[in-house]
């Protein structure tokens, strides 16, 4: 990593560009859980071989192998330091990036990625010129994560799950709609309340009364 423009910003900087290690870590955990589960499995007697443990054992090994391979891949190809209207390399506006990605993907099969597994050293200039593939607009915006929005959204869903049965579909569903719209950037909270209630009520009417789906009535049970 000697080619990084600003060397020595420490461990956190190194990891910040490699948050992708979450996925191999997840695979690692999955592989270990599968391995333990396979060893401790209660196998009914008299099962024809190969029994129920063979395939899980195979998958658990595969999980561990791919965890290692993916970790190596992430370590070698860190995410670019900066995205967007890049100050890192002068000529890299997002628009330009999208265009190059497209023209590059043009005549070749879409899966061809020049920036993966080629540079063993993971030099920044190489990744900088050819940002990650996967859709023109995605290329420019994939890197950054809006953490408050993600947390807000996941929190809203958790609240919805907790309140669905006690409060009933209409209230919980409206809350879900309102909360998601809010975390995704709606600026009209009061207007949204009406939209959300209209949405959940019409769903209750259409699907519960119309199609006969089973939705929890909650505290409004007597009203409907």
């Amino acid at each position: 990593m000697t080619t990084e423009p600003a060397p020595g910003r420490g461990q956190s900087e190194f990891l910040a560009r490699r948050t992708g290690l979450v996925m191999p870590a997840l695979l690692l955990v999955a592989g270990i859980v599968l391995a333990i589960g396979t060893f401790t499995m209660d196998v009914p007697s008299g099962v024809a071989s190969p029994g129920p443990q063979m395939f899980p054992a195979f998958i658990s090994v595969a999980c561990l192998v791919f965890a290692v391979l993916l970790a190596v891949d992430v370590l070698r190809n860190p995410e670019p330091e900066q995205v967007g209207t890049g100050a890192a390399t002068g000529d890299r506006t997002t628009e330009r990036t999208a265009e190059t990605t497209e023209s590059i993907r043009g005549p070749v099969a879409p899966a061809a990625t020049p920036d993966r597994d080629t540079t063993a050293t993971g030099e920044l200039p190489a990744t900088g010129e050819l940002p990650a593939t996967g859709g023109a607009d995605e290329a420019a915006t994939r890197i950054r994560s809006n953490r408050p929005a993600v947390l807000g959204l996941v929190g809203t869903v958790i609240v919805f799950i907790a309140l669905l049965v006690p409060l009933g579909w209409i209230i919980a569903g409206a809350l879900l709609f309102w909360g998601v719209a809010r975390t995704l950037g709606s600026r009209r909270p009061v207007f949204d309340i009406f939209v959300a209630v209209a949405m959940s009520s019409s769903i209750q009417l259409a699907f519960s009364a119309g199609l006969g789906l089973n939705l929890p009535p909650g505290i409004l049970a007597g009203v409907f």
Binding site: T19, G20, V22, M23, L34, G37, M41, V43, P44, V47, A48, S49, P50, P52, Q53, M54, P56, I59, A62, F66, L69, L70, D73, V74, V83, E102, R105, G106, P107, V108, A109, P110, A111, P114, L130, G134, G135, A136, D137, A140, T141, R144, S145, R147, A149, V150, L153, V154, V157, F160, I161, L164, L176, F177, T183, L184, V195, I203, L211, L213
Partner: protein, 508 residues
């Protein structure tokens, strides 16, 4: 000509007011999700699965077919007018299509694209009508070893082609296979990885997985990207919506070539329409370069016609392969396979006998759907583009509500809602770090099948591994697979070299 009378019966089934309504609803929904970037037919069908459970299967499936093709019609509209392809299948046609729009020829680009979709889809559907029954008859000779070979073929093909790297594709596949392990093993009755929770004895419901990965995962990814996206400019399309005779003459060969390229890709599982659309684009570009009047780079209609025809042709034949072999070749096909299972149907050779009314009605609905879509798209394309003005936060809030509604409605279990959130987070992580989602679905759906067929083969042969490759069909499949992967690796490394040399000497 048994097929023709069967197809005639199919048309009679579809041409009832109620079923026509489903075709129409499917086409509308499909075009809408096609136009909107980030939403695709696979997600739409996944969201519809739970709420359509009370419909009769024929109505539901002809609606799904409408959604499938509508997505392919619609995805190029936003690509042409806004340079943001509605789906990965429209990236190839966006390159020239958007240049045409910038040049003031948006209407012609939209018309070329709509007619191309119609042409490719219809021609391929005709081929499916004639050849799918024979394919199904051939597949009745398949035993466990052959089905295992088919599943392995689908695993490797989709992992190798869909993702940006084979490593990432295979990683996704392994995630899918691992998810599918949860539940009681059907052959031995052993409970696997359930943690003793009765909710997990039946395994994780496929609807939970598809909705979590495709819908909720996408919504979380949208939240994560919030504030980083620039508004794309919408080019207004004015003028005639039909092609002049000269444009038509120019586009027709491209439609034919695109269809020819697209048809085989539906049968050999390479995971959807991305590869054929790019191949068609490359072909048109190379052919045009040889002759005068080459407009590539400035908006050439052939660059839209070829890929669009190829994409729809692939989708048609992929449906044929799904019906006849039970082999899903893309995320959408995998979701449709899940839909068949929801209705207690197993696509494959026996489907043509057991549910022939459904199969032929479905095939007939392809043709009707194409006509409906052509009518919906040709004159109204600019209107569809208005959909892009719906505020994103309402759109995705609505999707979240529908996802949760569907999950709760199928099982009435709060536990499934927790699961869908967990899988949604997994789907977000995969999107965030560049792992393709389609192999997970294929792994989840075909994993148990592969395991069962493997164990059956081994049980019958008493542990002789050569039984896996002893039949000519399975041996052929493995050889084709090996050749295909080798070819892909060679092509990729060659493409990479070409890119490198091209980057050294930048061409305008």
């Amino acid at each position: 000509m048994n097929q023709l009378s069967n197809l005639g019966d199919g048309f009679l089934t579809v041409l009832t007011p109620m079923n026509l309504l489903w075709v129409f609803v499917g086409a509308l929904l499909g075009t809408a999700v096609g136009v909107l970037p980030g939403l695709g037919s696979a997600m739409a069908v996944a969201l519809l699965l739970p709420v359509t459970f009370s419909l009769d299967p024929i109505g539901a499936f002809i609606m799904f077919a409408g959604v499938l093709f509508g997505g392919l019609f619609g995805d190029s509209i936003s690509g042409i007018l806004m340079n943001t392809p509605g789906n990965s299948t429209a990236i190839a046609s966006t390159i020239e299509g958007h240049k045409m729009a910038q040049d003031g020829r948006a209407a012609q680009a939209l018309a070329t694209s709509a007619i191309a979709s119609f042409f490719g889809g219809t021609v391929a559907a005709i081929l499916v009508v004639f050849f799918a029954p024979s394919l199904a008859r051939l597949a009745t000779h398949f035993g466990p070893a052959e089905y295992l070979a088919l599943a392995v073929f689908a695993f490797v093909a989709i992992s190798a082609v869909v993702g940006e790297s084979i490593l990432r594709g295979l990683t996704s596949l392994v995630i899918g296979l691992a998810i599918a392990l949860v539940g009681i093993d059907g052959m031995s009755g052993a409970s696997r990885f359930t943690g003793g929770m009765p909710e997990l004895f039946d395994g994780i419901n496929i609807v939970v997985i598809t909705v979590g990965l495709l819908a909720l995962g996408e919504v979380i990814a949208v939240a994560a990207r919030r504030g980083t996206k620039e508004e794309a400019k919408l080019i207004t399309s004015a003028g005639r919506l039909w092609l002049s005779r000269k444009e038509f003459r120019l586009a027709l060969p491209a439609w034919v070539r695109g269809t020819t390229i697209g048809v085989p890709f539906g049968i050999i599982p390479v995971g959807g329409s991305e590869v054929p659309t790019f191949l068609a684009y490359g072909t048109e570009r190379r052919l045009a370069a040889r002759k005068p009047g080459n407009m590539f780079g400035r908006g050439d209609g052939r660059g839209v016609a070829g890929p669009e025809a190829a994409g729809n042709a692939t989708a048609s034949t992929a449906m044929g392969a799904l019906l006849a072999l039970g082999l899903p070749t893309s995320a959408t096909a995998a979701v449709l396979l899940a839909a068949f299972r929801q209705y207690g149907l197993q696509p494959g050779p026996l489907l043509f006998e057991r549910a022939s009314e459904l199969v032929w009605a479905l095939l007939a609905s392809f043709f009707i759907g194409m006509v409906v879509l052509l009518i919906l798209n040709l004159p109204f394309a600019p209107l569809w583009a208005k959909l892009l003005k719906v505020p994103r936060h309402y759109l995705y809030a609505g999707i979240t509500v529908f996802a949760m509604l569907g999950i709760y409605a199928t099982s009435s279990k709060v536990f499934d809602l927790v699961l869908v959130l967990a899988i949604g987070l997994l789907g977000f992580g995969m999107r965030r770090y560049g792992l393709p989602v389609a192999p997970v679905l294929i792994g989840v759906i075909l994993g148990p099948l592969a395991e069962t067929e493997f164990r059956r083969t081994m049980a019958v042969s008493e542990g002789d591994p050569f039984a896996l490759v002893s039949s000519p069909i399975s041996a052929t499949l493995y050889i084709v697979l090996a050749l295909g992967v080798t070819g892909l690796l060679v092509q990729r490394s060659r493409a990479r070299k070409k890119e490198e040399s091209r980057l050294m000497t930048p061409v305008a």
